[in-house]
Amino acid sequence: MTATAPKQGKAPPKTPDIRLSVNGKPRTLSAASSKRPLLHALRDELGLTATKYGCGKGQCGACTVLADGQPVRACLMTVAEAAGKSITTLEGLGTPKAPHAVQAAFIAEQASQCGYCTSGMVMETAALLATTPEPSLEDAKQALSGHLCRCGSHRRILRAVMRASGRPQP
């Protein structure tokens, strides 16, 4: 798909690096073990630890990042699949001084206890609001249905989604 992908059948002597954009900056990742999940490359190679490992199976949502604006599970996406994509992690969304609107809403609603699920929740919400700026409560529940929270912060999270979209809060 991308310009840098090797042509089939002609294995080059050295695997070229995988190029992608992370939080707006061009980054390269070694293609040596290109089936490794993007999650591990983000956390261990790029030092972006906001994205969390919860299950490694696409069951919990803790590892959610945006790939070309779409929410994806970084534990399931390989670095090869991430090649050429524009990846956004929680760190890239905003900072404590200048939080993204969704982050600001999560802070205002105090929508986090241990916070281990928070990164995935915020990323999914950001993706939802990008396509559905005024979601209903049902839309929000639907969008977050693949995300688990063991601390029981769900209602605060839903309030934060509604607050971020300027809708009445449950």
Partner: protein
């Protein structure tokens, strides 16, 4: 600024983490007293008047970081933003006991409040001497001691104290500020760690790294109790730098990245012995009745229950309740980092009990206790004791073996398969009433695993596998409380048949034991009411003698819109139920009322609305408390509706979120939390009590909706359908 920075760096280098508001931290990291009776152990004042609090208890997401600051700030007359907090570092903080049993504020906070009050008294005394003004005419405000007269000779607390600290013991008689004057306590202040968590800057133990650190993975046996016969490690050659560590049955790999450690673990070919030591989850209930037992105990004996039962004729009712083995099921798997040197060790851990575990790690590593330091870092939420302490032992053993820092993060399968579990509970109840429906006799019998007396901590997996000595036994928390009905029954008895063992390694899980006990007692109370055609809520109000208890029950009922009538509802489909607890009979009061629907076709229960009235005395931070209560309710609904650790004769079979499902967004009900603030009463726990009435309130609501009485958790659709079949 330079001095401030270097102090902060010093602390960082010493491994402490200052969470939240960053401030210059006035500590000499190595020269701290941590004696739990000294003011200087709990707080330090910098020359600029900023304060650092040293707290032995930790914030697990429950809001302790703000609550502790509020309690100290109030006494010191300071804004919370002027207070830094260091938590759970065994070298820097006093041992305030584990962060368990909802004691964070009730014990930890109260102790720190007394330290702050002692400090205030001392600062005022110092200022009185300097200013030659009577102590009674001075107060601490905005970081200064000021004359109440308005005279502007104020003294900053940093200047007043100087370099030496207080050198004072905690004074239990140091006067506390009067609740009516509170400015900070009782305010819904935001938690200082939330912005960092929401923007990905918060450092969890999972995110912590050290130079030269290796990543480890432990390969657990394929069956509980299996031993390692042999292992073929040739596969590891495929991964540069990967190596195997084996200490008897403790088998692990080390690699330079977590991904390589995961791959390496999959390439090892261990051969384990045959072991089939488990009963299987379906047999637990029967096995509990069979024993073996180590003791019988009568916890409550009042009046003559046998006589009351005999006199009641056919107005006697009996029922059995069962609560299964459950997992903490933390969202992130356990993780720890250890740096073990030849003469000392530092372990970064999400433990709820760093101080408690220090001796265990000293023994594990063969080091003196004072050379072992445990530093708390946040983990994924912990609700008792999940696998964090085991992961810490894994990392420590591996770091010692390899002589480098090692990080161990468990897999999802490790976490659900091997975290210590909430033990199963079986209860049999008998009760009777007179012609008017009054309950005259009650007996609760419990079958419970017996915790080992004096055992300091849950035996850990790593030393067990490695054949290293550790005290054996069971840890459960106090699981036999709240087995008696709080409604003035004249003849009552609570008996425990203590079992020698538990089916899987047990540990404390949120509100240990009390959730199942209150489930049984509060459900059975409704059963007796239904038999007598009485409204169960009115009957509770008639039986309760305690004003605070009456208050929460009345308020919850009013909020739900309770209309007196017996259950079940003459219009089936939707039901309401209530339950009440006076936690441990000495702490928080909670009443929960809820509405639920039962779809008989599918067996699905839908909780529509939950109301919780909650009185834990003085409320420190109502916003954090509300969130704790909501969380406890949601988690307990999940445990009641869905959760059971399944296992066969070899191993746990519920090891991911499909086989161990938890409640998701689609099933979250409306929840209203009604706080009864009692500023004149001591603050009590907010993390546990609200969980305990949830299952009975739900079972009572299902009964009201359908006439179906559920006595076995979880209330899965399959089980509900089976119960419907059985009853028809």
């Amino acid at each position: 600024m330079t001095t401030a920075l270097s102090r902060r760096d010093l602390l960082k280098a010493a491994g402490a983490l200052v969470v939240g508001f960053t401030l210059p931290v006035p500590v000499l990291a190595n020269a701290r007293s941590v004696a739990a009776d000294q003011v200087d152990s709990f707080l330090a004042i910098a020359p600029d008047g900023s304060v650092t609090i040293y707290c032995g208890k930790v914030d697990l997401g429950q809001g302790l970081r703000i609550a502790i600051r509020q309690m100290a700030a109030e006494e010191l007359g300071l804004g919370v933003e002027r207070i830094a907090l260091i938590e759970g570092d065994t070298d820097l903080t006093p041992d305030q006991g584990p962060t368990a049993g909802s004691t964070g504020v009730a014990k930890g906070g109260v102790q720190i409040r007394q330290a702050a009050a002692t400090a205030r008294q001392a600062l005022i005394r110092l200022a009185a001497q300097r200013l030659e003004i009577a102590e009674g005419e001075l107060d601490l405000m905005d970081g200064e001691v000021r004359p109440l007269s308005g005279d502007n000779r104020a003294l900053g607390i940093g200047d007043l104290l100087g370099e030496g600290g207080f050198g004072l013991a905690l004074d239990p008689a140091a006067p506390l500020r009067r609740p009516s004057t509170y400015k900070v306590v009782g305010q819904p202040l935001p938690r200082p760690d939330v912005p960092a968590k929401v923007t990905g800057r918060h450092v969890y133990v999972h995110d912590f790294t050290l130079p030269g650190m290796l990543h480890g993975r432990v390969i657990r046996p394929n069956a509980v109790g299996a031993t390692l016969l042999s292992v073929d490690e040739t596969g590891l050659k495929a991964i540069k730098g990967a190596r195997m560590i084996r200490i008897r049955d403790f088998l692990a790999v080390l690699a330079d990245s977590e991904w390589n450690a995961i791959r390496a673990a999959a390439l090892l070919k261990p051969v384990w012995s045959e072991a089939a030591t488990l009963s299987g989850h379906e047999r637990v209930r029967d096995a509990m009745k069979a024993g073996p037992f180590v003791a019988e105990e009568t916890l409550v004996a009042k009046g003559d229950v046998d006589k009351a039962l005999a006199e009641a004729g056919d107005r006697v009712h009996r029922a059995e309740y069962y609560w299964p083995v459950q997992s903490h099921a933390s969202l992130g798997p356990s993780c720890a980092v250890a740096d073990v040197r030849s003469d000392s060790a530092t372990i970064w851990t999400a433990s709820q009990a760093t101080h408690r575990f220090r001796p265990a790690f000293a023994r594990l590593l063969g080091l003196p206790e004072d050379k072992v330091r445990l530093v708390y870092l946040d983990g994924s939420g912990c609700y008792g004791m999940n696998g964090h302490d085991d992961a810490a032992a894994d990392a420590a053993l591996l770091s010692k073996a390899v002589g480098k820092p090692v990080r161990v993060q468990w897999s999802r399968e490790d976490e659900l398969g091997w975290d210590p579990k909430g033990p199963p509970q079986l209860l049999a109840l008998e009760g009777c009433r007179d012609e008017n429906g009054l309950i005259t006799g009650w007996r609760t019998e419990m079958w419970l695993p017996k915790a080992t007396a004096g055992l300091p901590n849950v035996p850990l997996l790593a030393p067990q596998a490695a054949g290293l000595p550790q005290p054996p036994g069971l840890i459960t928390g106090l699981i036999a409380q709240n087995g008696d009905p709080p409604y003035g029954v004249p003849a009552q008895e609570v008996k425990v048949h203590w079992l020698a063992d538990a089916p899987l390694r047990p540990s404390n899980i949120r509100a240990p034991g009390k959730i199942a006990n209150v489930f049984a007692v509060e459900s059975f109370f409704d059963e007796l009411c239904a038999g007598a055609q009485l409204d169960p809520l009115v009957a509770r109000l008639q039986g309760l003698r305690d004003l605070r208890g009456l208050t929460v029950v009345t308020r919850a009922a009013a909020r739900l819109g309770w209309k007196p009538r017996p259950s079940p509802n003459p219009e089936p489909g939707i039901g309401r139920g209530a339950a009440y607890v006076h936690y441990k009979r000495s702490e928080t009061y909670v009443a929960i009322a809820m509405e639920a629907e039962l779809d008989k076709e599918s067996g699905r229960i839908r909780v529509r609305r939950v109301v919780c009235s909650h009185d834990c005395g003085l409320v420190i931070n109502p916003d954090a408390l509300r969130l704790q209560i909501e969380g406890a309710i949601i988690q307990t609904l999940s445990r009641t509706l869905l959760e059971e650790v399944t296992f066969d004769s070899h191993r746990v079979t519920a090891t991911d979120w499909t086989s161990y499902p938890i409640l998701g967004f689609a099933d979250i009900p409306e929840i209203e939390v009604d706080l009864v603030d009692r500023p004149d009463q001591p603050p009590m726990g907010g993390g546990e009590a609200a969980a305990t009435p949830v299952p009975a309130a739900l079972a009572n609501a299902v009964f009201d909706a359908s006439g179906l009485r559920l006595r076995t958790v979880p209330f899965t659709p399959e089980r509900v359908k089976a119960a419907i079949m059985e009853s028809s």
